[in-house]
């Protein structure tokens, strides 16, 4: 019973095991600088996977989430330039970035939930649209942001690294959301939409909100990527779409909806990152690395699914 509604416990256990394996091949793993650099490279996927979780919980899927990252990334970089690069401009650009992410997510939500289109195909379609928009805004990778941006991102705030602040706030947000009526209703909608509707729940609104949430998380991930790379790239987000799904499955969220949670996805995304590390530091022959990684990820996905089902 300990696992019922706490699928992240299993994901945490897997993450810890993988960390041990990582430590075995990379003794310096727990040095603060190494941990921090690991975390900063995992953070975008962690955030995207958390966002994707909400969409999946209510029984849908968002294949456009990578394109949303690209779109927010190039929009914010362009806006910072357009607004002039002052502190106010930065803040305004960040707000716009969130608005664009949430807006794009809400568009998905309207198509899927209000207009009742099939989520896989529809978000694939909107994804192409968003990616095209990103290309129109910035045809090639480039653009720069003021040095302050990545200096702040990499630096500490009140003695704690900014990256850690972002992660903690995201986790707190997720926990708080899980305790609200909305959290419960999202699970009900994903478990059986017809039943939730007949119970009187605002099914369409819940699903649109979840898409919006996913867009918001994608926007945050895009901002982190700007903090890290200090530039814009219209093709940046592509790989995050399927990885986010892998991460949330690893974290014990069922693709059929109704069961799982964003905390599990946090561990799922970390697990994917750690697997990368282990493969890299294990000094395997180059040609075997990718195959072994593929097999480990497949096995982990299987375990994640079995845990979600129990």
């Amino acid at each position: 019973m300990i696992l019922y509604r706490r699928p992240w416990v299993a994901a945490l256990a897997v993450t810890l095991l993988l960390l041990l394996a990582n430590l075995a091949v990379q003794p310096s793993l727990f040095k603060p600088a190494i941990m921090l650099s690991n975390l900063s490279s995992w953070l975008p996927l962690i955030l995207v996977a958390m966002g994707q979780t909400y969409v999946v919980l209510s029984g849908d899927i968002d294949l456009s989430i990578g394109a949303i990252i690209s779109l927010v990334n190039v929009s914010v970089v362009s806006l910072i330039g357009a607004f002039g690069g002052g502190d106010g401009a930065l803040l305004l650009a960040i707000v716009c970035g969130f608005a664009i992410g949430i807006g794009a997510g809400a568009i998905n939500g309207v198509f899927v939930a209000a207009l009742r289109l099939q989520p896989i195909v529809t978000t694939f379609g909107t994804g192409i649209l968003f990616a095209g928009l990103a290309l129109a805004i910035m045809p090639d990778a480039g653009g720069t942001v003021p040095d302050r941006v990545f200096e702040t991102y990499a630096g500490p705030l009140l003695g704690v690294p900014v990256i850690l602040w972002i992660l903690s706030l995201a986790v707190l947000f997720v926990i708080a959301l899980g305790r609200t009526r909305f959290g419960l209703r999202a699970l009900a909608v994903g478990g059986d939409a017809q039943a939730a509707f007949q119970t009187g729940l605002p099914v369409t609104r819940v699903r649109i909100l979840n898409y919006g949430l996913a867009g918001g998380f994608a926007a945050l991930a895009a901002l982190c990527l700007i903090g890290e790379t200090a530039t814009g790239d219209p093709l940046l987000g592509g790989s995050y779409t399927l990885s986010s799904i892998s991460a949330l499955v690893l974290g014990g969220t069922a693709l059929s909806g109704g069961t799982g949670g964003a905390i599990g996805s946090l561990f799922g995304a970390m697990s994917l990152g750690i697997i990368n590390n282990v493969i890299f530091f294990a000094r395997l022959p180059f040609e075997l690395q990718s195959l072994i990684q593929g097999i480990i990820v497949l096995a982990a996905l299987a375990v994640g699914t079995l845990v979600a089902r129990r």
Binding site: L117, G132, P139, F197
Partner: protein, 327 residues
């Protein structure tokens, strides 16, 4: 022979006009017309044949996709991109430009890709993984397999006979690939509509438990469907090799999501149990013409993508809507 019920639903006046297959074919013709108007020569016979050739590869990958989607339980195969690449790679390496190895190469491709598909099927049935997860994971494994086999440097060469077969005209300028596609399409349609196997596939997709209770060997059948998708992906890779002559790593990746789209705009429900391969053929042709039209009109990549995405959404709006919760 059978009595009529009191309240018969009256049929719509032109049922075919609402059917996704007709819509897809009509739109294809419309797009050809638009293309011809804006850029004369777009709908020339030779141009159409080359469009169909490009569509054939998508259509063949989507044939496997159709099978697993028809079989239901959220059936989907994201590993097709991998099996296509793997098929091309194995074929090229077994052939090495020799005609004598053509048939052994084909058998090798069918064997390997069939096994990979069957493993997908085993994961989906015995471990009960969601197909999306299983085939996504398998895609990663195949990527690794490709790296291992090529060590990063693609190798292999098509047999001249294969090149001839695929590209040389067999009749009235029609390249050999098209009869091959037509043959596979006819065979698949026959199986789906005129055999007990086809009935069992639709039954499986419509209601798995009822299918089992009616005597369908559901587990074996589902494994067979995924194996079929793997084999069709492999065969597509084999034929692609005949089209390109040499092997590219990741040649199949471009087909993964379009193959699903082709199935859906052809009217096959992602829920399973309803649809046809003819629809998928129509979907593949429509997608190819649309892509080609956007390229021909020299619209920049950004605009091309946006129009493509918007078209997809409009198509979904046209006939992809699901039932409302409140009737």
């Amino acid at each position: 022979m059978i009595g009529l019920t009191a309240s018969l639903p009256t049929a719509p006046r032109f049922p075919w006009a609402r059917h996704p297959i007709s819509i897809a074919f009509l739109l294809s013709i419309l797009l050809l017309g638009v293309g011809e108007t804006l850029s004369p020569g777009f709908a020339a016979p030779g141009q159409i044949l080359s469009l169909l050739t490009v569509a054939a590869f998508l259509g063949l990958v989507a044939a496997g996709q159709t099978l697993v989607i028809l079989g239901g339980r959220e059936g989907i195969d994201l590993s097709v991109g991998g099996t296509v690449s793997l098929g091309a790679l194995i074929a090229g390496n077994l052939m090495q430009g020799s005609d004598a190895m053509l048939l052994p190469a084909l058998l090798g491709v069918i064997l390997v890709c069939g096994i990979i598909g069957a493993i997908n099927g085993l994961g989906v049935t015995l471990v009960r993984l969601p197909p999306l997860v299983m085939t996504l994971g398998m895609y990663g494994v195949i990527q690794g397999l490709l790296v291992l086999l090529t060590r990063g440097r693609p190798s292999g060469k098509a047999a001249p006979l294969l090149l001839d077969l695929i590209t040389a005209p067999v009749f009235a300028g029609i390249p050999g690939l098209l009869p091959v596609w037509a043959l596979i399409a006819a065979l698949l349609t026959l199986i789906l509509t005129r055999t007990s196997l086809g009935y069992a596939i639709y039954a499986l997709g419509s209601n798995e438990l009822a299918a089992r209770f009616a005597g369908v060997p559901t587990v074996a059948l589902r494994i067979g469907l995924y194996a079929g998708s793997g084999i069709l992906g492999g065969i597509t890779g084999f034929l692609l090799l005949g089209y390109t002559g040499t092997v590219f790593v990741g040649v199949g990746d471009q087909y993964v999501l379009p193959s699903i789209i082709a199935v859906v705009i052809g009217g096959t429900s992602l829920a399973g149990g309803a649809g046809s391969y003819l629809g998928t053929v129509a979907g593949a042709i429509l997608l190819t013409i649309l892509q080609s039209l956007l390229t021909t009109l020299a619209i920049d990549p950004a605009g091309r993508q946006m129009i493509f995405g918007a078209t997809l959404l409009v198509l979904m709006l046209l006939y992809g809507r699901r039932q409302a919760l409140r009737g």
